[in-house]
């Protein structure tokens, strides 16, 4: 997976290559040190050649200064490379996510997408940064140190053949057995955090039911379970350092023993022995670091996997590759909507949701109806009867499972997605506004809207007056630092935002639930007066909102139970009459 991501290094590849070169020079400079030192001890001192000593010493200092230069440059390039790499991946992810269909979004869930764009990308960035700074150094160090050690004394170097395998094998075993201990620890940590989070969110429930003691006990259990797992993992890891030290130090002792013999027989210089010991240390530490590379990569691998999953996700709602015959792209012009034998179920796309109780069951079945342009249509039905699913099919937020949805006589799948959605204004249930000013939010509907157009839309949505009551009017900043809106105000802004689009079809999904009856009536009135041309489809829990509609569609368990005007439905439709009677013509607020 990591390999796949490397393609995203793009324009920053040059930094990676420079880093490898710089690191090579840096390592060479550093590795020369013990070698040159050996020359001072073995050549300079016995020959009492102060000039030689000074020359070699000077060379060492020059090399060290050069190494600083290489090192600092390496830091610069590795920072550029890793952050550039991360920025490229983030961008690719963001672009991909922007192309997602609603089913894709449902499949991944918002929280998990956010984690992938933030945390997982950071993991990958750290992986590259560490690689370019420390980890790739290790093999370079290993090779050069081996080379120098062998050039000092080939025979003595054979000790490496025992020491390195011993080190690698012991590290391997410790890490292998640590793996599952760490995954247990991680799982328990997750449930620990989950318990805390739930308690924070639901603190009122805990207090209302006097469950503090129960929760404390629950927490103690998960806390202790985590601690046990953490101690187990920690115990194993505490073996690493002593084992390393043991192998390192006993290698040194062996080197001194055999090397000492060689020195006294004159086959090796004292300085060479000291230098050799330095190299052996270097070799073993590099081996250790090198083994750590695998741990780091294994961790990054998990993140890479999660990133690639997003990048590879199949977007199930896309434009048709070619225009239909005739070559003229269709566009929404009058607002006629037609459903023909529509069946729909969630999660039948390539990415099916793991847990979705709606899956596998038709949410809508046998839906056929006609809406003429300029009509106002109400949709009513119980919780889970399929109202939202039904209207989602019009702007092609989801695709039908079978049957056809036609807008202005053309199957929605034959439209260019952008053109289709441009013609349709929809106010979703979630009512999300973005940080920024009220004006900026409204301009989402049409970025070129004039102040008059903005105000007109706001007036039609009954939002103008409360907006003007804010000190900054349309420039009032929304969100955490700014003004907080009530539910009803938010809904009215969302309606205004959709109105600025001047859509041919306007869809309101329970968008006035928090608006009081009187204001809602005013909104309806202005729709009637000022949006004569547009087709308006309204989902509502309140019968008062839709009573006056040209057509009311009563949905029950995914099927149409009745279509018609209020009077007619009240006469003939049991469900409708029951809803009407329970509401007695109104709700408070």
């Amino acid at each position: 997976m990591i390999k796949r991501l490397f393609a995203y290094i793009g324009q920053y590849k040059k930094y990676v290559i420079s880093c490898i070169f710089l690191m090579t020079f840096d390592v060479l400079c550093e590795m020369m040190m013990p070698f040159l030192m050996a020359k001072i001890v073995d050549v300079g001192i016995p020959q009492k050649d102060i000039a030689f000593i000074a020359r070699v010493g000077g060379l060492m200092i020059v090399l060290a200064l050069a190494a600083i230069g290489f090192g600092v440059l390496n830091m610069r390039f590795s920072a550029n490379a890793s952050q550039g790499f991360a920025a490229n991946i983030r961008r690719a992810l963001f672009d991909k996510v922007q192309s997602f269909s609603f089913s894709n979004i449902d499949y991944f869930s918002t929280a998990s997408l956010v984690t992938r764009l933030t945390n997982d990308v950071t993991q990958i960035q750290i992986m590259l940064l560490m690689s370019l700074r420390i980890l790739l150094r290790a093999p370079l160090m290993l090779i050069t140190a081996c080379f120098f050690a062998m050039s000092i004394n080939l025979k003595l170097s054979s000790i490496i053949l025992i020491a390195i395998p011993a080190l690698v094998i012991s590290i391997y075993f410790i890490i292998r057995s640590a793996e599952h201990l760490f995954s247990t620890m991680q799982q328990r940590l997750d449930s620990l955090n989950n318990t805390v989070r739930e308690n924070l969110i639901a603190i009122r429930v805990v207090k209302a039911f006097v469950r503090e003691g129960y929760e404390k006990l629950k927490f103690k259990k998960v806390n202790d379970a985590f601690t046990r797992a953490a101690i187990n993992a920690g115990y194993l890891i505490s073996l690493v350092m002593p084992v390393m030290l043991f192998i390192l130090n006993f290698t040194t002792i062996t080197v001194i023993w055999f090397g000492g013999k060689m020195v006294s027989t004159g086959t090796m210089g004292t300085g060479e022995l000291i230098g050799f010991i330095s190299y052996i240390m270097q070799i073993l530490t590099s081996t250790m670091i090198f083994s750590m590379v695998f741990i780091l990569y294994a961790r990054a691998e998990a993140s890479a996997q999660r990133i690639v999953e997003v990048l590879d996700a199949k977007v199930d709602i896309v434009d048709k590759p070619a225009l239909p015959e005739g070559g003229i792209a269709p566009s929404v012009s009058s607002g006629k909507v037609e459903f023909k034998d529509v069946y729909f179920r969630y999660g039948n796309s390539a990415n099916s949701n793991g847990f979705n109780n709606k899956k596998g069951k038709d949410v809508l079945s046998d839906i056929t109806f006609n809406i003429e342009s300029g009509e106002i249509v109400g949709i009513i039905g119980g919780t889970g009867s399929g109202k939202t699913s039904l209207i989602s099919l019009i702007p092609r937020l989801y695709d039908v499972t079978s049957g056809q949805v036609l807008v202005d006589g053309t199957d929605v799948r034959d439209y260019n997605l952008k053109t289709l959605r441009k013609g349709i204004g929809i106010v979703l249930q979630s009512n999300v506004l973005f940080s920024g000013t009220i004006r900026e939010n409204l301009l989402w509907g049409n970025e070129n809207a004039t102040q008059e157009e903005i105000e007109e839309a706001a007036r039609n949505a009954q939002a103008h007056d409360f907006i003007m009551n804010f000190p900054d009017g349309y420039d009032t900043v929304l969100g955490q630092a700014g003004v907080n809106l009530s539910g009803g105000q938010k809904q009215r802004l969302c309606i205004a935002r959709a109105l600025i689009k001047k859509p041919h079809i306007l869809i309101l999904d329970d968008s006035t639930s928090a608006v009081d009856v009187a204001t809602e009536a005013k909104i309806m009135e202005s729709f009637n007066k000022n949006l004569k041309e547009a087709t308006i489809i309204i989902i509502s829990q309140r019968i008062s909102s839709i009573k006056e509609a040209d057509k009311i569609i009563v949905l029950d368990d995914g099927k149409i139970s009745g279509i018609g005007k209020h009077e007619m439905l009240y006469e003939s439709n049991i469900i409708y009459r029951e809803i009407y009677d329970t509401q007695q013509g109104g709700l408070i607020l």
Binding site: L36, N199, A208, L245, V263, S264, T383
Partner: protein, 637 residues
């Protein structure tokens, strides 16, 4: 969206690298106090700490001795060619190393134990404390903020105990030992080392202060970037509906690019210290070799000593780097610890009441008698000053007398509220958002305490009732439904922990939740995750109602409990609840006429004051605010 923030916050936690790879530069405000509190926690594992310090000492000495040994080895045995002596000396060296390795092993094992048990206790104390805090605290602190006490802050403390402290101690010991040994070996050569050391320290201080600035900068832009990602992904459906993808991409690119540049600078400065320190160390090494060589030529030094000295000087940079890094980590950890202790020092909920709630039964002479089993009859148990106990029947009579309440000083939410609810009555509160309806119910169960006035419950001032017992006598279904990870039936049982499966299913039937629950993949044993995210809002409300129904308490408070449930289902629930709550008091907050019209009394609240009270018909006849509300003549906002 708030939800996502929390999840995301937790996700950041094990980013590990995010926090640990880049240094943070935090400092506690009260260093001493915080250290003292940490020490108190460590006091519980005094013995372990002592053993750890001894082990650290032994392993540091072993390492130092090992390096020093090069001198006698070379001078006394290798150069003269005394192999018997060399073998003996190496054996001795081996023992030193072995002891060192064992000490290192014991030290890290004990450290793991000490750190984990200590953080376990800290976490538990923190959680227990959290459970006892008053709601005002949760109002003024975000979930993310409290969550990060448990994650980042405890993590940092753990890192400090587990790693930083031992590293700091062993590095300090190594540094002192190395310097001492160097001075013993050759004071002249040490001067060279000392000069380089001073330069190293100065440079590292300079760089640290500079990178602090860049780090802060990076964090700010990171916040902006993550904020944008979160917002645009949370609102992704809106973006799609408005064809706003290209705008979002453009805006994202701008922030992404800005972050790339800043982060690269911060990374650069944070990393720069490594090659500089490492190579200054090499320069020191070179200078030592040259001057050592010259000293040997002048016969003022020997080869063995030079070898040992070089070993020391090659590694002197390490402890210095370690010390600076660990001091930073420790400061960050202490800053985290300070925040943890701040939470622990918050004042808990006040609970001075001594009147408790007990199950009761009626004795033949008509008096109340305390009993173990659940009888459906409850009594308030008053301990009197003279040691006597009296029992008063719990009836559910709630009265407010001139209650005045404010969340923030100077902003009254309720003013002069007086009301009564007689046992068995259904009382509905009606009024616009923010009028104070929920606040009234929050005062009854003492989520908050009144500022002025009093609330009597069966004639007892509620501040005299033990909080837990007061709340046990009331079941609440709140506006926002929250469920816990676990099965559906466990979530229902939350209302009464000793309820049988059958009782839970019955409660679900009362709440009309049975039919949708049986359609879930595993029925009542379907596991709910992430606050019930896989259920619809309406379904969650049904479970919450079942949870309250299983508690079957004398008084029930329903706060917009059916707002996301269709009117048909609501009517079914109402029937079930009416049967369950017959003769008991129910408070209802709702904005649906259908929900409130059957109430015995409807109380209309506006701007924190009661303006009307009466039955549906009475209020309509009054042609006041309620009438206007019902007929939709006025706008409330």
């Amino acid at each position: 969206m708030e939800e996502n923030k929390k999840v995301y916050g937790a996700g950041m936690r094990r980013g590990g690298g995010g926090g640990r790879g880049v240094r943070s530069f935090e400092k506690p405000k009260n260093l001493r106090g915080t250290i003292a509190k940490i020490l108190k926690y460590l006091g519980k594992s005094k013995f372990l700490v002592a053993v750890i310090v001894i082990c650290l000492l032994v392993s540091a000495i072993s390492a130092l001795a090992g390096s020093y040994f090069l001198k006698p080895l070379i001078n006394n045995y290798i150069i003269p060619g005394d192999f018997k002596g060399l073998a003996l000396a190496l054996l001795f060296l081996g023992i030193i190393y072995l002891v060192g390795a064992i000490a290192a092993f014991l030290q890290s094992r004990f450290t793991v134990k000490m750190a984990q048990t200590t953080t376990n206790i800290i976490r538990r104390d923190l959680f227990d404390k959290m459970q006892s805090l008053e709601l005002r605290y949760f109002d003024s602190h975000t979930h993310g903020e409290l969550m990060s006490r448990f994650t980042n802050d405890v993590d940092n403390v753990q890192l400090m105990l587990d790693h930083s402290l031992t590293q700091l101690i062993s590095s300090t010991l190594t540094l002192i030992g190395t310097v001492t040994m160097m001075i013993i070996l050759s004071p002249i050569l040490f001067i060279i080392t000392a000069i380089v050391l001073v330069i190293m320290i100065l440079i590292s201080m300079k760089i640290a202060s500079k990178s602090r600035y860049y780090f802060k900068n990076q964090q700010e832009i990171l916040g902006e970037l993550n904020g944008y990602i979160e917002e645009s992904i949370s609102g992704l459906k809106e973006i799609k509906v408005f064809n706003h993808e290209e705008h979002a991409k453009k805006a994202f690119n701008r922030i992404n690019e800005k972050f790339r540049v800043t982060a690269a600078n911060a990374n650069f400065l944070a990393g720069i210290i490594m090659p500089i320190m490492g190579n200054l160390n090499n320069i020191c090494y070179a200078a030592t070799a040259v001057f050592g060589g010259i000293l040997i030529l002048m016969n003022r030094f020997d080869v063995g000593s030079l070898a040992a000295f070089l070993q020391y000087s090659r590694h002197i940079g390490q402890p210095i780097n370690q010390i600076t890094a660990q001091v930073n980590n420790i400061m960050a950890a202490l800053a985290g610890a300070e925040r943890i202790f701040e939470v622990m020092e918050q004042k808990p909920e006040v609970d001075n009441g001594n009147i408790t709630l007990v199950n009761a039964r009626r004795t033949p002479d008509g008096n109340l008698e305390e009993c173990e089993e659940r009888t459906g009859l409850w009594a308030w148990k008053h301990p009197k000053d003279n040691g006597e106990l009296t029992h008063t029947e719990l009836k559910g009579d709630v009265r407010f007398f001139d209650v005045y309440f404010e969340y923030e000083p100077g902003v009254p939410v309720l003013r002069d509220v007086s009301l009564y609810a007689k046992p068995g009555q259904k009382i509905a509160f009606v009024g616009s958002t923010g009028a104070g309806k929920t606040t009234i119910t929050n005062l009854i169960n003492r989520f908050y305490d009144v500022n002025e006035g009093k609330i009597l419950y069966d004639g007892i001032n509620i501040i005299d009732i033990k909080k837990a017992d007061l709340r046990r006598s009331l079941a609440m279904v709140l506006q926002d439904t929250h469920l816990f990870t676990g099965t559906v039936i466990d979530n229902i049982r939350y209302g009464r922990l000793d309820a049988t499966d059958e009782e839970c299913i019955n409660a679900a039937k009362i709440a009309s939740a049975d039919s949708f629950i049986s359609r879930l993949p595993h029925g009542y044993h379907t596991v709910i995750r992430g606050d019930g995210g896989n259920l619809s809002q309406g379904e969650r409300q049904l479970i919450a109602i079942a949870r309250a129904a299983v508690a079957s308490p004398p008084v029930m408070i329903l706060d917009e409990a059916t707002s996301s449930i269709d009117t048909h289902t609501e009517r079914l629930i109402e029937k079930g609840m009416d049967a369950l709550m017959a003769g008991r008091t129910v408070f209802v907050i709702a904005h649906r006429l259908s929900t409130v019209r059957n109430a015995n009394a409807i109380i209309v609240i506006e701007h924190g004051q009661i303006i009307e009270r009466g039955s549906h018909e009475e209020l309509l006849a009054l042609k006041g605010r309620y009438y206007q509300l019902c007929t939709g003549q006025i706008e409330l906002e």
